[in-house]
Amino acid sequence: MAVRSTKFINRNKHEGEDVFISSPLKSIRKSWGETMTIMTEAKRKNKRTIPGFGLTMGFTLLYLTIIVLIPLSMVFLNTFSMGFQEFWVTITEPRVVASYKLSFMTALTAAFVNAVFGVLIAWVLTRYEFPGKRIIDGLVDLPFALPTAVAGITLTTLYSPNGWIGQFFSFKIAFTPAGIIIALIFIGLPFVVRMVQPVLENIEKGMEEASASLGANRMQTFIKIIFPELIPAILTGFALSFARALGEYGSVVFIAGNMPFKTEISPLIIMTKLEQYDYEGATAVAAVMLVITFLILFTINVLQWWTGKRYSGK
């Protein structure tokens, strides 16, 4: 059974590669493609022959509404009942504004570091052979599997002034914005790697060969041929990593030191307000963060639409 599912994935992969096939083959493939389109058209008409649409769609929407939509809408309902004046005063409090700035800057820096190293890691894992490669490949997902609180206490211990790593630095890392960035790099590490890896695996070798035979060196081939193919994946990974870093709490609270105006991130502001039973204040800050999150999600969707268009449009 396992073999069967692999077979299907592989077949799908080859169909994706058709785009790059050389011209005489292309025309054959093209008419094959047309036949396939007609067949899918015919199939589409019959698609509702699979029973259970109402039941499964109903269950999906019901579960989605109860677990996600109604609870999330509470943030906006409560914000609307607040009155604009009060809302504005809460979200522009200097301490809150300082936390937005800190969260934004640290998340951006971490996502940028992860984008650069993510491409490098994906490149080394897909193109080169070295001992222990499989273990390293598996280990890249550690930040997804390791609880954030565990990451938090471990990184704090390592980067505190007398920790294994912190002792080698003349300046403080833990309990400063630098520490927050370290934690966010850890949390977001796999995103760009896992987005870029499949694209690199599927890049047609022929394009690189053509580039080389036309006299380009490796660096030129990478910049002009390979990198443009990777851009959508890098940007999507960057956006996912950035969104995750903006909202991250578990790993950051330990290493940040949580000093107002200096190392207090926005999620912590929400937490503090909740602990003081200031539900309205917490909700207002959450509403701002949610709007930013939705903007990032929207960007990711546009990027994926762009990716889809690029690959099918060739």
Binding site: N12, R44, Y63, A145, P147, A149, M195
Partner: protein, 294 residues
């Protein structure tokens, strides 16, 4: 692909030359590999080692005592209860949602996928907050729940529902691309041969997606065990009652019981390593690899 390689080789001279043209010199390869290994050692390997070193700093007896402490055992038990409710519910949802999205055509499909993905990008603290706003004492349903004598926030149901929210997309997200690549022809064949909808799902679809499902389940499992922010908001930190393992670690750490904190942390790290091993095993067995970072 094979055709093209031979064409290039014939027109451009020896095959060896073509091969070198698409590879970097050995020296550059080793520099890049070294940078990657150094980066990953610093960020992943050293922390992983540190957890176990710190856990055993005061010896094996202290380690076992920290784990066998009643509060630790209560935290482990609560975490297991949360996992046993959360993961099956999200597995059922994941399969049904992926089936709906991949087996039928309807308008707004991409929008539905975006909605399912939503919890991935919501801050865990906000995930906790929304359930306080809904079920808390001053929340929308607070008075109703109170008159019924039900307690959700600062109690186990709150922890469970926050965990369900956080891990909501995990399984659906793994299954959708897999089921999309498999198409609907096998199901159609089964239906033509006279099987009913449920029979078709059970004997045709489920065997096809079982590895993808397991993949999603272990990822969902890992996140549920480790969820901190959302659970922290709704739990109320009642020791021995509403403390999950990550919250227990926080308390121990804040009380300067570092070895005990790392002992419980090491237990969770073993879970994480097992998760990664099962994940790599499934990838190796099926060639299936998550394209969507979760």
């Amino acid at each position: 692909m094979e055709h093209e390689h031979s064409v290039v080789a014939k027109t451009n001279g020896p095959v060896i030359m073509t091969k070198n043209a698409t590879k970097e010199p050995k020296s550059i390869q080793w520099i890049l590999i070294s940078i990657v290994l150094l980066f990953l050692t610093l960020f992943l390997v050293v922390p992983l080692i540190a957890i176990f070193v710190k856990a055993f700093e005061k010896g094996a007896d202290a380690y076992l005592a920290a784990i066998a402490h009643p509060d630790s055992l209560a935290a482990i038990k609560l975490t297991l209860i949360v996992v046993l409710i959360t993961v099956p519910l999200n597995a059922v949802f994941g399969v049904v949602a992926a089936w709906t999205i991949t087996k039928y055509d309807f308008k707004g499909k991409n929008f539905l996928i975006t909605l399912i993905d939503l919890p991935f990008s919501v801050s865990p603290v906000i995930a906790g907050l929304i359930f306080v706003l809904l079920f808390g004492l001053h929340g929308a349903l607070g008075t109703v729940l109170q008159s019924l004598g039900l307690k959700v926030i600062f109690s186990i149901p709150g922890i469970v529902i926050a965990s369900i929210f956080i891990t909501f997309p995990f399984i659906a997200r793994e299954l959708i691309p897999l089921m999309q690549s498999q198409g609907t022809s096998e199901e159609e064949a089964s239906l033509t041969l006279g099987a009913g909808g449920f029979k078709t799902f059970w004997y045709v679809t489920l065997p096809n997606i079982k590895w993808g499902l397991l993949y999603g389940v272990i990822l969902c499992n890992a996140r549920t065990i480790g969820e901190f922010g959302a659970v922290s908001v709704v739990s109320g930190h009642i020791r021995g009652m509403t403390n999950t393992m990550p919250l227990h670690i926080e308390i121990l750490y804040n009380e300067y019981q570092f070895s005990a904190a790392f002992a419980v942390a090491s237990l969770m790290s073993i879970f994480a390593i097992i998760t990664l091993i099962i994940k790599s095993f499934i990838e190796w067995k099926t060639g299936f690899k998550s394209t969507k970072a979760s």
